[in-house]
Structures are given as C-alpha cells and as structure tokens.
Subunit: 330 residues, 2 copies
C-alpha cells in the first residue's frame, strides 16, 4: 500500500445543495495505528444522506471538522493490526471516512466470509440495521397491518418494505419514477407503489391504503409526511428516519399543517438514530442474513467508481438518481 | 322536577370562533329512562375545549347532530332509575349534555360521598383523569426530569404540573397572564412559569429548562409546540392532549418547521384521548383522591351560573379568560 493517504475532506460547510467547493482533496502520510487500533485499506464507502447533516452541524454526532475527511462508513481490509479481534487480512466495516487508509479503534464490525462488500454495505451495515430496528422496534407493525415507506426505492426504504412483507404486512412504497415503482412491486414484492412526482400523493395513499396507514416509515419528510398523517389509521405510528427532502433547505419550511390529527388518531411520531441500536446489531444481522440466504430479501446497488467521485455519488441521493444503495468502489 | 326539559342544542356547525348563532334553546318534554337507564337532573356541566371538535366534525366521537343538545360531561342527581347500580338520589357524572334533564345509559360514574361537585368535575372527572394518564402513561416522566405544560393555568394543565411535582419532576408552566403565572408558582408549586403573551417563548423555555424539556404536555399547539420541539431534550416526549390555539382556525395553519429535530433527539410525539383510559379511571381517581386529601393537589374553578350562559362559559376557554376549570352551575 502507498505511504500516502488520498483523502476527500470538508473544505466548507454546505448551505443548500452540497457544492463541489465544500470538498477538498489532499494526500497526507499514512498514520500508524495506536494501541488497540487497526489500519484499514478502504475498498468501499457507504454513501448515506445523514452525511449531509454531519457536514453542516452537530447532529447526533459532532459536525465533521473543517479539514477532516468526510465521515462515512467504509469497508476494507486490515493491513496492520494492534488488536487481535481484527487480524491482518480481515474484512471490516467501520467509520472509515472518505480516504484510502483509515485508522479505526472503536465501532469495528467484522464482515463474515461469503458476504460480498455490496451485501455488507446494503444489508448488513447501517442500512439494513436501520431498516430492521426502525421498522420493528419503533414502528412495531403487526401482521396484516399496512406499512407505508417513503424513499422506498432507496437503500433503507427498499429493505423496510421487504421486512414488512416478511412480517406479514401490506407494504406500500413511495418513489420518484415509474421504473422505481415497477422495481418495488415487480421485484421486491411491495403490494403497491406510488410515484410521488406524478400522482396526487394524498389521494394515492388513500387508495393504496384503504384501511389507513398503520406504520409510516419516513425517509423524506415534507409534503409526503403531511399526506401520510392525513391517511394515518387509528393508533398509527410514524417512524422518523430521515427527511431528505429538507436536508438542503436554506430556510425553515413549515411542518405538516395537520399535526393535530394525531390527537384523535392517537398517533405516535418518533425519531430514531440507528447508533442507539448498534449493541443489538447481531440480532438484526442474524435475521437479515437468513432472509438474504433464502431469497426473501434482495437489494440493488448503485456503484460509483473512484474515491474522487464520492461527492458526485453523494449528490445522487438528493437528486433521486439512485435506485438502491449508493456506494463508492475505490 | 319540571315535565319540560330546557336544552341548548346545536343550531349550526361553527366556522372559526363559536358564535351565538351556533346554539339554539328549546324546551322539550322530559323523556323517561328505558331499561337499564336513569334520568338525571343535571346540576353542573363540565366545559371543555374538546366540545369545539364535537360541534364541528367527527373527532374520536361522532359530531353532535344538528338539533341535539351540546355534548358535555355533567354532574347531577338520579331522579328516576331503572338500574340498581345508580339508585334514585345518587350523584353521578356522565355525558349529560347541555340540558336540565338527561337520560343516561352507559358511561355513568358515581360521585362518592364527601366529594364536592367542583372537585368531581375538576379532578375526578375527565379533567383529572386526562392529566393523570396523559402525563404518566404517555409522557412517562422520571423523577428529576423537566416537565413543561402549556395551558398550565387551565383545568388539565394545572393538574398535570402538580402531578409532575408530586412525581419529583421539575414543573414549568406556560400561561397567558402575570396573575396566572403567579398562581402556578406561588400556589401550585410550579418551579417556573412563562407568560407566553409577553415573553420570547423559545428563549424563556430555554432559560427555564436549561437541561431541555423531557416531557412537554401540550394543550395549545401552534407556535408553543414549535418552541418546545426546539428545546426538547434527548429522548424527549411530547404529549399531544389538545391544540386550543387552532380549534377555531378556518384555514389550515403550517405545523412546526423544526419537526426533523425529532430525529436526532430521538423525540416521541404522541396523541391521546382519555376515553381510551376510562377502564382504568379507578386507578387515577384513587391516587388523585389521596393527593387532594393530603393537600398536595389543589384546583381552582371558574364557575358560570345558569344553563343559558353555557355558550359564554365555553368561549372563556378560547379567550383564555379562565383560570382553572370552567363549569356551569344550573
């Protein structure tokens, strides 16, 4: 491996859409791992909407410092180890950041043999664990209930809908193109899909969920959240996982005008962050593995090559260009 | 008792503030109770914000029919009984409506000896039970946490803050006048009170709740809800009990612009309706009785005389004229 580490760092905090000038590229000497740490040669990066928050402000984790690599989950091979749990040659997941070589101390997860990098990042990393606990622990659907998912053709949403189906629920997805909607219903087994760009969303939800929405898993926020509240069933639950429609906003946008409906509907709206569930990651990964193995859970990846293209890959999330999990192959 | 029953009925569904023309007055023959029913001579009426919803639309209960008495909890004496559980002479609470005589079948609660009508309606009726379960079952505060209450000088809010204190929490109330705020801190034992009409609410909450708001019990909605979200502590809970600031709205009003803060804060916002807890009313009444007896829980009433003044009493809720529980004495 090189003695220099190529990195993409935070040059400037974003205001609105994340512009190229927010990023800088540099090459710095590779650092040796300290006691208990490992040096990882990064092969893949997980590109997630939450990075937008980290770039801008303290958001459940401290903001990325100016000049530091963009924070990001990555997958790679241990090339130097001071920790017997992660020997040289092991494939690991961790908060590698947008760089070729990362020193990792905590939060390292070994990727088991036979699990591809794509599967690891799409299903067994943050994405799948988010879908699993967000739906099952926060949303708590029962068999026969209707689960509505926004950003359903995205990495997390597509897994949420499939888990809902596996648990005997009716799954309805919101996505932004005919192709994405077809993927949801034809390949992933969603019961219905709504193109939020071309349909009257509130009416479409009402038609697709005639008994109301029991669980709404929201990755998007904004108008779609309002429409879902309007269609919420009695005792319905809204899982606030993300609000990608608003992450690039430069002015505050009014919230749903129908929030008081939650009173009569006894609705619950709850935010969550997957980091709170990482001590139970094994539980999620066990079930997710079974479902991938028996073919009930599938995924699609949106692979961009080359570390230097990570900013472009990142922006695909906000334009809705991606279907499935966006990742960068170094 | 008279053979005629004087009533105030729904003449027209309200749009905006409830105008006098929404009400009609009539006198109809007293009806005899059927099997299992009792005839009650109504002595007191409980005047609650939720009546605004019942007048306008289906809102967890069907809308009041045009020409029917305004739905309302009332207290009175059984004067004719076909039910041994409620003998003639018993004092009972039930959904009497705005009328002199009511036939009641279900949902009747006997008022125990020694409990005044004022205490029954302020504490042991819907009001106290709402405060008890809304705070403890939905809000779930722990000792040492901060509980913020809007409409704190109102019937429900004043009980919520006192229960919070009894449970070892810090209680902070929002109210609309210096006098109300003084009542909260000087007589009810709130740790702080904020005059939302004269203070910068968001800043005042931040100063009064330096560690953030662990539980926000909301009777008001609107800007106060947004300010509370901004000050919510990690894992904070918002109990949506009412939204009196919006009940008279004729156009939909934007919701809180900062709802996505719930994600990073892992916040939970949950609506509830006390009717869901009526099977556990005895549990609440037992504790509330103890607290009234030992002087840790007090209440204030806002009594208006004469059935014909019920509409005027009702409007006191919306102008904020009342401190404590609004009730009509027939």
């Amino acid at each position: 491996m090189d003695t220099m580490n190529h990195r993409i760092t935070l040059a400037e905090r974003p205001v609105g859409a994340v512009a190229e000038r927010c990023f800088a590229r540099d090459d710095v000497p590779v650092v040796s791992p300290g006691a208990g740490e490992v040096l990882v040669e990064v092969a893949w990066l997980s590109i997630d909407p939450t990075i937008r928050g980290w770039m801008a402000y303290d958001f459940y984790l401290p903001a990325i410092e100016i000049g530091a690599p963009i924070r990001s989950v990555g997958l790679g091979t241990v090339v130097e180890s001071n920790n017997d749990a992660y020997p040289v040659g092991a494939t690991v997941l961790g908060m590698a950041g947008w760089q070729q070589c990362a020193v990792l101390g905590a939060g390292i997860q070994v990727v088991r043999d036979g699990v591809s990098p794509e599967a690891a990042l799409s299903i067994f990393g943050i994405t799948g664990i988010t879908a699993y606990f967000g739906l099952l622990d926060v949303g708590r659907p029962s068999a026969g209930e209707t689960v509505l998912v926004s950003g359903a053709a995205g990495a997390t949403g597509s897994v949420v809908g499939q888990i809902a189906r596996i648990k005997g629920c009716r799954a309805v997805g919101l996505a932004g193109s005919t192709e994405k909607c077809a993927w949801l219903t034809d390949e992933l087994g969603f019961d219905a899909a709504i193109n939020y760009k071309t349909e009257d969303v509130r009416r479409a939800i009402r038609e697709a969920c005639p008994d109301g929405v029991d669980v709404f898993f929201d990755n998007v926020g904004g108008d779609i959240l309002e429409a879902s509240i309007g269609n919420l069933a009695l005792h319905g639950r809204i899982v606030l996982c993300g609000a990608i429609s608003q992450y690039n906003d430069t002015t505050s946008r009014p919230g749903p005008s129908n929030l008081t409906l939650l009173i009569g509907k006894r609705g619950r709206m709850e935010g969550f962050i997957v980091l709170d569930y990482m001590h139970r990651a094994g539980e999620a990964i066990g079930h997710l593995s079974d479902w991938v193995r028996d073919g009930t859970l599938t995924y699609r990846t949106d692979v961009v090559d080359d570390l230097d293209n990570a900013p472009a890959a990142f922006n695909r999330l906000f334009t809705g260009a991606n279907t499935g999990k966006v990742m960068v192959r170094l």
